[in-house]
Symmetry: C2
Subunit: 132 residues, 2 copies
């Protein structure tokens, strides 16, 4: 089962061409929910760095490609239905384009929170570029 | 912001009527990926126990309603795009219908694994009923 194609085939792509991916830091913090198609999973397995499928841009991006906030993949788990993945990663920098470490930085009911106010630094603009 | 309707309105339901929900145990273990619509979130907030929208059954179920494997909700977080939720729960029993604690019990590449072989106990049948 070590062959790359065999690994990729474990996901039930017939059910959905794009599957949700829970991204959890090695310290246990849930960082974000992302999506992968077959090619994104292949690139992730080949490189060891998380690649996601952007549903809005309809293309694959390596996480942190521009900003440097990459995710080194330590483990990939698949759920009982074979239609969702859990990536355990080492997050470099922050995962969220807002500058927060995790995209889940707000409790339901809490207002929006900017990290250190509005930040026009190059890093943030690059993060924004990735999101847009 | 303590009003229930205000909490529910924080989710961007216009983008999608059903949002993915990452379910994490208080000890940090990611248990499952589920889905909620507005009503499921309302019932979760009202009762303090996780309710999900079953996409296959097209109806709302309280997690563990039949099996007793309920999830007491400790915290609800919303992501930066307001289109995904993270529930921190106290899991009673197991989260997965296979009998495993987490639905993410397999590494990508590992074969299927039954907990203690095929189990025809009432608990498992009740879990199966929830899934079907």
């Amino acid at each position: 089962m070590s062959d790359l194609n065999e690994l990729i085939k474990q996901v039930n792509w017939e059910k959905s061409e794009i599957v949700p991916v829970i991204v959890q830091n090695v310290d246990g913090e849930v960082l974000t929910l992302a999506y992968m198609n077959e090619e994104a999973l292949r690139k992730t397995l080949e490189t060891g760095y998380a690649h996601y499928y952007s549903r809005s841009q309809k293309r694959i991006r390596m996480k942190g490609e521009v900003s440097g906030n990459v995710q080194k993949v330590k483990e990939i788990k698949i759920d009982c239905d074979s239609d969702a993945l859990l990536l355990i990663v080492e997050q470099v920098g922050v995962a969220c384009h807002t500058g927060n470490r995790s995209c889940f930085y707000r409790k339901l009911g809490e207002p929006e929170r900017e990290v250190g106010g509005i930040d026009y630094s190059l890093t943030v603009l690059r993060e924004l570029e990735e999101v847009i």
